[in-house]
């Protein structure tokens, strides 16, 4: 039995298992500093979706995991804000019902957040899509219509959080190991990835609409379905939050 492929395979395996977490914080150059003591932060309902990654790479969304993860993250973020000098304004779920005018604002943030994420902050799995003609710094706003949200809730900042995470099935894990073994043995290498977390969050000034802080985070480890790892993930997601 040839042993020559065993060591490289094991090394690759060890590397793959170690995973990594990356963050990228962006702030506008022209923004005034945020005064945490005067900040009343509205935490909007988290946009979370957890999926199962099957052997062949398909993603199946999971409602139960999503519900659990959202609860853990909401609690962790709430605690994070409560422990800062800022005060926490809980969002009424009706704020984002189809009848609410604020839903359009939420959709606008989704579009802006996605744009920052794709084109300035690294994109999914770190694949930054550069727009060659787009040569400006970090300067994004939701417009002054955000004031309606301020008037209704009394908050002067809004925190938006978007999380997509996936977890490999047993079959997927077998395929990963199998692909590494086949790769080492035959030179036929098929990249089979594991579940990853892609998240972004932004803090919006509800007086001006300006995005005053943005963070993209990417991770291959940490299970949001459990409280402690979720708290750890939250810390990565809110890295550099000026509160």
């Amino acid at each position: 039995m040839p042993q020559s492929w065993l060591l490289p395979s094991l090394l690759i395996l060890a590397f793959a298992a170690s995973g990594c977490t990356m963050t990228k914080v962006l702030k506008p150059e022209t923004a005034g500093t945020v005064d945490p003591a005067r900040a009343k932060v509205l935490l909007l309902p988290l946009d979370v979706e957890l999926s199962e990654l099957a052997g062949g790479g398909t993603l199946t969304p999971r409602a139960d995991w999503t519900t659990t993860a959202r609860e853990h993250l909401e609690k962790a973020i709430g605690t994070r804000i409560a422990n800062s000098k800022a005060s926490h304004v809980a969002a009424d779920p009706a704020l984002l019902s189809a009848e609410s005018r604020h839903l359009q604002l939420f959709k606008l943030h989704e579009a802006i957040g996605e744009s920052i994420y794709q084109h300035q902050a690294g994109g999914p799995n770190g694949q930054l899509q550069v727009i060659p003609t787009l040569k400006f710094g970090f300067d994004w706003t939701l417009g002054e219509s955000v004031r309606a949200l301020k008037e209704e809730t009394g908050a002067n900042y809004a925190l938006f959080v978007h999380v997509r995470d996936s977890y490999a099935t047993a079959g997927r894990k077998v395929a990963m190991v199998g692909s590494l073994l086949v790769c080492g043995a035959t030179g036929f290498c098929m990249p089979i990835g594991t579940g990853v977390r892609n998240a972004f969050a932004s803090l919006v000034d509800l007086n001006t609409g300006q995005v005053v802080w943005f963070n993209r985070s990417y991770s291959e480890t940490g299970d949001l379905r459990e409280a402690d790892p979720a708290t750890k993930a939250m810390k990565a997601m809110l890295e550099g939050l000026p509160l």
Binding site: G55, T60, P61, A63, L96, K107, G171, G178, F188, M190
Partner: protein, 383 residues
């Protein structure tokens, strides 16, 4: 080798899945199921659809469509929600959570309530049989099987992995077409049971076949990769109609009810159709509306003029002028015919005639929102 591969894929992806039970009205899937996961993502999509700027949010039109749904599927009446989207193509969509989307282009392609009901019934068929869930499960199994096969054979015989992909994807497409045929049958059975003339269903496909024949690009649309060809559906539906036809259903098409529900939208929908820049296919749509006498000769002439104007091939400007001139011969000429006649004549360098056309437009539509622009043209053409 090949049949063994097929057998492997069928074992892993195909045969083990029994058909799903029909959805139970009012039941939500168990939270930990994959079905609940898909519902969760579709609920979010539904919120986007409901508040989309592209939606035709008309409570009266929605109520009419919902009424037809409840007539053909009383048991799912409270579980289904319908949204009309401003999309100038023939289509409707069904999400597994009970959201139905009707594309506005459908409303100038079906000719009466029976035909409309058949399309809605087809979508209800997808919902009832949980087709989306079934295809998602199949996709998952197939791709997993393909990965396994690629790993087992790929390093040694790459061609085998390629062959497996073809077989696997073929299985999926076949499954999809089976679902479409099943939904067609559910649709026609439901409308026959509700008292409509089932022979109307074949008329839908006759119309689509005519459009497809006129427009060479039509057949390359992805739609036909996953759906049976319109001619096939025409034949199947005509055959099924013969079996389902009851004497009391004969000629019960609900044409008047359908006309009353969509008449106020027809001109807008035809304007949208023109923007697709599919000259031949749009001409078929106009022909069919003329044949069923739901638009006037003058209106048809106006839209044919529009088709020539936007296509702009050699000689089209003169053809457009002729059509617009015909369009304004009626008792109530559409003011836009004058304006667009002016635009084309201006392009042709016919200054005096163009000015006259613009002046006619302003006379017939003094409060038009583009009045200032047209006045500028008149001024320019006077100099």
């Amino acid at each position: 080798m090949k049949w063994r591969l097929c057998a492997a894929i069928l074992l892993m992806a195909g045969c083990q899945s029994a058909p799903l039970a029909d959805i139970t009205p009012g039941d939500a899937p168990a939270l930990e199921s994959d079905e609940a996961g898909w519902w969760m993502t579709w609920e979010k999509a539904e919120q986007e659809i409901a508040t989309s700027g592209n939606r035709i949010a008309d409570p009266e039109l929605d109520a009419y469509l919902k009424g037809v749904i409840c007539k053909i599927a009383a048991e799912y009446c409270s579980a289904l929600r319908v949204y009309v989207m401003r999309q100038p193509d023939f289509n409707a969509q069904m999400a597994p959570n009970g959201m139905m989307i009707v594309w506005s282009g459908l409303l100038i392609r079906v000719q009466n309530e029976a035909q409309l009901a058949a399309v809605l019934g087809h979508e209800i068929g997808h919902y009832q049989r949980r087709h989306t869930l079934s295809i998602m499960r199949k996709l998952r199994k197939t791709t997993t099987a393909l990965t396994a096969i690629a790993l087992m054979t790929g390093g040694v015989v790459p061609a085998a992995a390629d062959a497996a992909i073809l077989v696997g994807m073929g299985t999926l497409l076949h499954h999809n077409r089976e679902q479409e045929a099943e939904a067609d049958t559910i649709g026609i059975e439901r409308i026959a049971a509700a008292g409509y003339d089932p022979r109307e269903v074949a008329e839908i496909w006759a119309g689509i076949a005519r459009e497809a024949k006129a427009d060479k690009q039509f057949s390359t649309l992805g739609f036909f990769a996953t759906h049976p060809a319109p001619e096939t559906r025409l034949r199947d539906m005509a055959a099924q109609a013969q079996k389902l036809l009851a004497p009391q259903n004969e000629r019960n098409t609900g044409a008047a009810q359908f006309d009353a529900a969509v008449v106020s939208y027809r001109m807008m929908l035809l304007n949208d159709e023109i923007t697709m820049r599919k000259h031949e296919r749009s001409n078929v749509v106009i022909d069919r509306l003329l044949e069923e006498e739901t638009i006037s000769l003058e209106a048809a002439a106006f839209f044919r003029g529009e088709l020539y104007r936007v296509r702009g091939e050699k000689g089209d400007d003169l053809r457009a002028v002729a059509q617009y001139r015909e369009a304004v011969t009626g008792a109530e000429p559409p003011p836009q015919a004058y304006r667009n006649l002016g635009l084309v004549l201006r392009r042709l360098g016919e200054k005096a005639l163009a000015r006259e056309a613009f002046q006619n437009y302003v006379e017939h539509a003094p409060d038009a929102t583009d009045r200032a622009m047209v006045d500028t043209y008149v001024q320019e053409l006077t100099q």
